[in-house]
Each structure stands twice: as structure tokens, then as C-alpha cells.
């Protein structure tokens, strides 16, 4: 996520908005945003409702056996359609900003 913040100007220039979703409550997200300097919104889904809706729940994987989100990235176009999905097979390996920007450039060149 830090890498997305570093490349934020590239996302801004293309009109792509970044948001992240986790089970962390707003207070934690506020603290983390201040600490790291995130300027895109870290959204809170404490009961994992949206995480379930997107079927990216990792049951029992939280520190105290709680349900959390697995890492996953989606690119949604202005019509609300999913245009690119990344579901990692390894929790430690996540999509970086370059992959998302590449995906955006490809759907752009496909003429939408």
C-alpha cells in the first residue's frame, strides 16, 4: 500500500481513485494514515460485510482467530464494471501499482 501512495500522482493523472478496505476500525485507519501519510481513503469494514460480498473473506486468519480480508485487488471502470482482478495465491505477494496502471492502460487501449 505504501507503493500505491508513492505512485499516487500517476493514478491521479489517469483519473483513477484508490481506496483500500480492511476490517480495521476508523481510529486505526486514521492513525495509520497519519503515520504513513496515506492520502487515499482507508475504509473500514469491521464486520466484513463488503469483504464477504466480494468473496474475499479469509475466515479465522486474524490475530485472534477473527475473520479478515485476504489480499485482493479490483479495478472498476466508471460504469461500475469489474475490468481487472488480482487474487493472489500467496498472502505475501500482492499486486503493485505498476500492475494496476498496466491493467488500466490496457482497458483504455481496448476502447472500453
Amino acid at each position: 500500500m505504501r507503493s500505491f501512495q508513492r505512485r499516487l500522482s500517476d493514478f491521479d493523472a489517469r483519473g483513477i481513485r484508490i481506496v483500500s478496505i480492511s476490517v480495521d476500525p476508523p481510529e486505526i485507519n486514521r492513525r495509520q494514515s497519519q503515520k504513513v501519510g496515506y492520502t487515499f481513503p482507508l475504509l473500514s469494514d469491521p464486520n466484513a460485510e463488503v469483504i464477504r460480498r466480494y468473496d474475499v473473506l479469509h475466515p479465522g486468519a486474524g490475530p485472534k482467530g477473527g475473520d479478515i480480508a485476504r489480499p485482493a485487488e479490483f479495478l472498476i471502470d466508471s460504469n461500475g464494471m469489474v475490468r481487472w482482478v488480482n487474487l493472489t495465491e500467496n498472502i505475501a505477494v500482492r499486486a503493485g501499482p505498476e500492475q494496476v496502471l498496466d491493467a488500466f492502460n490496457q482497458i483504455g487501449s481496448a476502447g472500453q
Binding site: S22, P26, P41, D45, Y54, I76, L87, A92
Partner: protein, 142 residues
């Protein structure tokens, strides 16, 4: 005659332990998180030094110390290495299938969630006036 300090055992042990405990640090950078080569390198260096130390301890026991503690340290280092490998190459790959996750070409499910300032943010709000929205789900618990 007092036997010599068998430094490769000590240094190797410290480096191997460092290979495990430096993971939190190296996991902060994609280049050393996507594949943990930095940690594996530390383990490798540590184990090589331990083996060098053991050869000295067993080959010239009248000159070097470390037959017993060298063996114990090496066993601990190998155990930590096995634990690390299990975590990295097995546990981290236990990811749910997410077979019902929205696919390319499908409508993204609507949502409204709260941002760090307590404001509600809906997907529709994010989409209006932008070309695209990148949605990043992450594990949290910082």
C-alpha cells in the same frame, strides 16, 4: 592449553536467527517480500558458518571449542530454517479460493463504508467523476 573461540558457530547462529526475525523488516518491501531471498540468504550464510564451525570443532577438538554447543546451535538454526520454510512456502499459500469474487465483465457490488474521518464513502461516489476505481482489500491489523 586453552582452546580457541570457535567464532563461526556464534556468528553463524546469530545470522541464522537474524534470518528469521528480520522477516518483518524485509516484508515491508515488495522486492524482499514477494520472494524472501534476503531471509533465505541469511539462513544460508548462517548454516554455512555453523558447518564450518562444526568442522573445526570436530576436526581439531584440541584447538577449537564447540562440539556440544555447536551441535545444539546448528540443530536450533536448522529447526528455525524449517519453521521459516513451512510458514513461507506452505502457510502463506493457504489462501481462500474466492470463487464467487466478482469477475471481469461483472458489475462490482455496491458498498458504503466509513473512512478514517468517519465519513461514509459509497462506491458510486468514488466512481462519479473518475475514470476508474482501484479497490485494494488487505488484511489489516496494523
Amino acid at each position: 592449553m586453552k582452546r580457541k573461540w570457535n567464532w563461526p558457530i556464534w556468528v553463524g547462529f546469530v545470522v541464522a536467527v537474524g534470518g528469521l526475525f528480520s522477516y518483518d523488516f524485509f516484508a515491508r518491501f515488495p522486492i524482499t517480500r514477494d520472494f524472501p531471498w534476503a531471509n533465505l540468504l541469511l539462513f544460508g550464510i548462517g548454516v554455512v558458518l555453523l558447518i564450518v564451525g562444526l568442522f573445526r570443532a570436530f576436526g581439531r577438538p584440541q584447538l577449537y571449542r564447540g562440539k556440544i554447543f555447536g551441535s545444539i546451535f546448528t540443530a536450533i538454526a536448522l529447526f528455525l530454517f524449517a519453521f521459516f520454510g513451512y510458514e513461507i512456502f506452505y502457510v502463506l499459500r493457504q489462501v481462500p479460493l474466492s470463487s464467487q469474487a466478482p469477475r471481469v465483465g461483472e458489475k462490482a457490488p455496491e458498498f458504503t463504508l466509513v473512512d478514517p474521518n468517519g465519513r461514509s464513502v459509497a462506491l458510486a461516489d468514488l466512481l462519479s467523476g473518475s475514470k476508474a476505481v482501484a479497490l485494494i482489500f488487505y488484511r489489516g491489523f496494523w
